[in-house]
């Protein structure tokens, strides 16, 4: 491959959009062409400047209020008037729900394949909740590299998290924190993908219905990708698309492509 062929592919190379052989060809060219290698570094620098320093304008609160008033969501879109609570039809529903909890919940806990939360997407739902909580609080330790973050977990967890990926230009590691994942502590690491944050939670998988192979689930507009390595469960969660999550999972050693998505 010569410079004329390599230059137009540099962005695709950085974004992981090339086929395996193409990627290898560009990589080999960059190894021995200083000019293209500098160009590749410059393109990365431009991407980083755009992602980190271009101001992001949030919609003003007044605009959001006007939009919400003009386009009420599904919960408030019903034209039904408020009625006294005793005239509602919810009493039979409540009774049925209580009966369901009394009769069915203990069985759900015992059912294989449903996990203790009694639902097959319990890991995904918890991951989304924890991701939002983590974004709100921020990381506890800023990343100076994986060798700074990993030792920080020592003494804070009852297991040693195995994290095979230290971050790179496409998925820089921002930092880490300890979070509760359902009933146990988890190592939480935050990577970045362009303007978006991706949380990785690593926890003991024992007793949870943690998918064995990479399994993609979408919940509330977020994508999750969960897999298991021995006793440890891993789950990625973000608003980036599933392809980006699969790329990060591959770097983390999840192996294989993401499984079929559930919606």
């Amino acid at each position: 491959m010569d410079c004329a062929a390599a230059r137009p592919l540099l962005l695709d190379y950085q974004r992981g959009r090339l086929t395996g052989p193409q990627h290898e060809e560009v990589h080999a060219h960059l190894e021995h062409c200083a000019s293209c290698a500098r160009e590749e570094v410059a393109e990365r620098a431009l991407s980083e400047a755009l992602e980190r320093r271009l101001p992001q304008h949030a919609a003003p609160a007044g605009l959001k209020r006007r939009l919400a008033a003009a386009h009420p969501g599904p919960a408030s879109s019903s034209p039904a008037r408020l009625r006294p609570w005793w005239r509602g039809a919810w009493i039979p529903a409540l009774a049925a729900a209580v009966l369901l909890m009394v009769v069915a919940l203990p069985r759900l806990r015992e059912m294989p394949g449903t996990g203790w939360v009694g639902r097959e997407d319990g890991v995904a739902v918890e991951a989304v909740n924890d991701h939002l909580r983590l974004l709100e609080r921020g990381v506890a330790v800023e990343s100076g590299g994986i060798h700074q973050v990993k030792p920080w977990f020592a003494g804070k967890l009852d297991f040693a998290p195995v994290i095979a990926f230290a971050g790179d230009a496409e998925f820089p590691l921002e930092g880490g924190a300890v979070e509760y994942f359902l009933d146990r502590k988890a190592a939480a690491l935050v990577y970045r993908r362009r303007l978006h944050h991706i949380s990785l939670f690593v926890a003991r998988a024992e007793g949870l219905d943690w998918p064995t192979g990479p399994e993609a689930v979408s919940r509330r507009g977020f994508n999750t990708l969960a897999w298991r390595e021995g006793e440890l469960g891993y789950v990625l969660v973000s608003d980036v698309d599933a392809h980006d999550l699969a790329q990060l999972a591959a770097r983390l050693g999840a192996g294989g492509a993401a499984g079929g998505a559930k919606n």
Binding site: L54, P55, L63, P74, L195
Partner: protein, 181 residues
């Protein structure tokens, strides 16, 4: 699309569309160049989106669908107001800048260092000098849309997206070079 699809498409828009207000507003700010115009454009976008909810295919990329509506709304408004010098000036700029091929200046380490230290105001100003197509493709790429999704938003072929993105990035680098002098 069947009746169920229409129902679930409308429900999906009702449930999730407002979550994209920030990201739509950000694109609108960079397209219009002003806060008031951006607010108008976002409101127009949502009005069109809810009005055309039956055309949305459930399960597809809602954000990309909203981006397409926003851009079309901007362009139709722009065409209507083409005589308006303010709007006309927004659809920048010197095409010689936009079409500048990949520049050589960054091969100098000092210039690369300069790019690494560029400040927010400079890169924002540089972006605002690009053509509407250039600004849009840069921002959609930043939002993480795939090339196919960007092509759908911009109503062009994937190959056109590639070339527009390459030209826009080259123009940005050229503009940042100008600031460094």
């Amino acid at each position: 699309m069947g009746g169920d699809g229409r129902t679930s498409g409308r429900a999906e828009i009702a449930a999730h569309a407002l979550a994209y207000a920030d990201t739509l507003y950000n694109l609108a700010r960079y397209l219009t160049g002003g806060a008031a115009d951006a607010e108008d454009l976002v409101q127009e976008t949502y009005a069109r989106a809810f009005g055309a909810a039956d055309q949305y295919t459930p399960g597809t990329n809602l954000k990309a669908w909203l981006f397409r509506i926003l851009r079309n709304a901007f362009l139709s408004q722009y065409r209507r107001q083409r005589g308006n010098p303010v709007v006309g000036a927004l659809d920048t700029v010197d095409p010689r800048v936009a079409d500048t091929p990949a520049t050589e200046w960054l091969r100098d380490d000092l210039e690369l260092d300069r790019l690494r230290k560029v400040v927010a105001g400079e890169i924002e100003q540089a972006l605002l000098t690009l053509t509407e197509e250039g600004r849009t493709v840069i921002l959609l790429d930043l939002e993480g849309l795939s090339e196919r999704e960007m092509a759908e938003v911009m109503g062009c072929a994937v190959g056109t997206v590639k070339s527009r993105l390459a030209r826009a990035r080259a123009a940005l680098r050229q503009r940042l070079q100008d600031y460094a002098r």
